[in-house]
Every structure is written in structure tokens, then in C-alpha cells.
Symmetry: C2
Subunit: 219 residues, 2 copies
Amino acid sequence: CRYVTTKQPIATPDTDSGGPLLIGNGWAYSYTLLADGRRQVTGFHLPGDVIGLSGSTAGSDGRRSVATASDCVVCDLDRAVLDHILHSNTVLGEVLRRQATVEAAITEQHLISIGRRKAESRLAHLLLELGARLEAVGLADADGYRCPVTQELIADALGLTNVHVNRLLRRLRDQRVLTFVRGFVAFVDKPKLIEIAEFDPGFLALPDLAEHRPHGMTG
Amino acid sequence: CRYVTTKQPIATPDTDSGGPLLIGNGWAYSYTLLADGRRQVTGFHLPGDVIGLSGSTAGSDGRRSVATASDCVVCDLDRAVLDHILHSNTVLGEVLRRQATVEAAITEQHLISIGRRKAESRLAHLLLELGARLEAVGLADADGYRCPVTQELIADALGLTNVHVNRLLRRLRDQRVLTFVRGFVAFVDKPKLIEIAEFDPGFLALPDLAEHRPHGMTG
DNA sequence: CGGAGGGTTGATTCCCCTCAAAATCAGTGG
DNA sequence: CCACTGATTTTGAGGGGAATCAACCCTCCG
């Protein structure tokens, strides 16, 4: 485990071993840079998340990087050990496999957001999603959460500019729906926000795994 | 195995068993509908692809559907058997695990495209990607391929409108870069197209898996 | 106090959407 | 073979959402 300060790279295509990482504390994010400097953030990593569950952390294209968005505790995991656990029939293996599926679900929703939702809806969706994920690990309540990311980072996740994100946040604030000040998200009118986001609160719940949930592991 | 004609659903949230499917022949695509009818195509499935490798074919949000884009041969697979193979140490298991990783890579590139690339670049990238995937299974050569999708389907994959896709195709045709007529893509100036797309031909190659291969291929 | 990173706001531009209508193509049946 | 139909492609005109460019203002911090 290492202690990494905010805004530091923790995995780059060049220096990276490509091994999986566990985020013990703090926020990180994955991104890839395009030739002209544009950046697409492909995902946020919250405490408890494992990066590089399948494949390299450097990403399949070998151009993905991971950096911290806040002070973080990061644990380097062993690929072989992780793979063994993933293939095992243990509770931990089950948890990790579920996490992999959830991650894919999040990425897919992310894709849908960017592709077909209006900017305001995308923003609302992202902030609700992060809140739901944090709630699941006890780091948020229903009213809000600490959110140590810059507006520019949000913009790069949503395929927007920081300027536009700023205007959208102001609009949401003016409409008494949400505030985002000094790294803290506060839901003012959550039903309205959910409506704006077209957010499905259950999309992280994994219905099919829930079915298998009763003690017996699938064989 | 079933024979399905074009433009038919093969998996919907309602009727679907959620089990994995193998595309034996033809093209299919996954999509989810938003409340107002907008559609986001999240991926194309080509011959040899397995849909729902991990998780349900209905998608984590339970609102994803799969439909055919051409006449198809579709095989319903057994989830338990598939899981067993995936966890096994067989060649088939290896192939399927690799396919899962490649699928994630494709989705991520898709996300990057929609988020940060211009419309023309997105279109070029998609058509190159499909070509590369088809080449890998011997269904395309370097000059072009049969592409049985409507411009509207492409638009829904790229987060654009069919009208705009049409204009982009015309522009690419006028620039002598690419033609797309009557379901056939023909590369006229592939280097130019790759440049427009900012396409990385190696992004489907899986560098970390390549390491395990006898003759080392550089990434 | 001064510098830096991030936030806020305004003016202007343009890429892509919306709406609308032809034109072309693919079937189908007479 | 040709009329008829629906789906897809093509083209046009106009509008709007987000980008771009460019300030200025915070707040933190050494």
C-alpha cells in the first residue's frame, strides 16, 4: 500500500506495471488523452474499488492512465493472486466478480449518457451515480457527499467543457435542485434531480446476481 | 440455434431469459431506449461474438435489448456451462475471456469517441473498428466489407442523427476517403481515414495477452 | 502579499439538431 | 412489367446547445 497525494498519476502506460490496484481511501479516475490534448475520463474509482479487475490498468489500448483526485491510499495487488481469487468460489471472489459486472454497467450508462442525454441530464446522472456508489460503502447519505473533483474533471467525464459544466451547475443551483460548492454535493430536490437525470436507482443493484444470492454459490 | 430474420428482437428485458447468446452468422446490436424514444446503440455483435459473457444480455439496468441487423443464426447458450468454461483453464475459456476483455476495450473506445471526438472522427473510427473486427474473423479484407446497417443505426451508435451521418458520409465520399453504398463499406484512402479517426489499429490486439504468445509481437 | 489553480461570467462562433420534403430503393402484388 | 407501398437516403433551411475565446474573481497557501 502506498499513500499518494492528490493529482498524482498512479498508473501510466509508460511507468505502469499494469497490475491491478485497490483504492483504499480517496478518489481516483481513469482517463485517456487524445493527440491534441483532449481528455476523456472513462471512470471514477471510489474507496473499495479495484482498478484493472480484468485486463491491464493501462487499458486495452495501452494509452489509459489513472490519477488521484484526492489524497489516496492505493494498494498494488498481484495479478496472479487476483485472478486466482476471481476464479475461486469464495465470497471475496463473488464480490469481485460482482464489482466487475457493476463496473461494466456503469461504463455502459456512461456511454448512454454521453451519447443520448442532454448535458444537464448527464451531469445530474453522474452526480446521482457517484452518490449512490458512495452510499453503498457508507461514505454518503441521501442528502449529499464530499466530492473532491474539479469542474474540469467532471467536464472531461461528460464530454463537455469546464465552462459549460459551471453554467449547468449554476442552473441547477438556481432551480433549487442541487448545490456543488467547495467539493461538496448537496441534493436539494432529489426527486427533481432524478427526473432530470432519467436516473434508474436500481441500475447498480444487479438483479440477476441478486437471484443467485441465497447462500449457494453457482457451480 | 435459431434462425432469425433481420430487424427482429432476439433479447428484450421482458421476454428474455437473460441467457448468453452466440452469434453464428449475421449482425446484431445491443441498445437501450430512453423514456422519450431516443436510442443508444451500445455495441455491434458480429459472427462469433458471444453476447452476455458476463452478466445478463438484458444488461445491468434491465432495459437493454438486442436485435438483429441482418438475417442471423443465433445460438442460446447455457449460463452455467458458459461460466464453467470461462473459469476453466481450456483454450476455449482463454478465447472467451479474451473476447470479454476486447469487448470492454471496444466499449471504452466507443465512450472516448462519443465523448471527445468530432462527429466525422467518430464515424471513421466506427467503420474502421468494424472492419478490423470483421477482418479478424475473415469476413473483410483491407479494402472494405459488407455492412448491413442503416445510417440511422450508425447514428444511434454514435450519438448523432441520421441526417448528420448522411452528410458526413457524403463528405467522406467527396473527399475520396470512403464510400458507403447499398450496405457496402469501401475504403478509398485508408491512411487518411485512420488519420481522421485517430484510429489505433492495435487497440484490439490486447498487449498483455500478446505477451503470453510464442512469438512476441510489439505493441 | 503575491502567485496559482480553480471558479464565474460575458460575447461570439459553429457544429450538429430539428423540421420538412424529395428522391431513391426494396419489396409486393396485380 | 409496372403500379403501389414503406423504408431508407438525400438535400435544404433555420435554430440552438455547447464550444471557444477572453476576462475577472475567488480562495488557498507559502
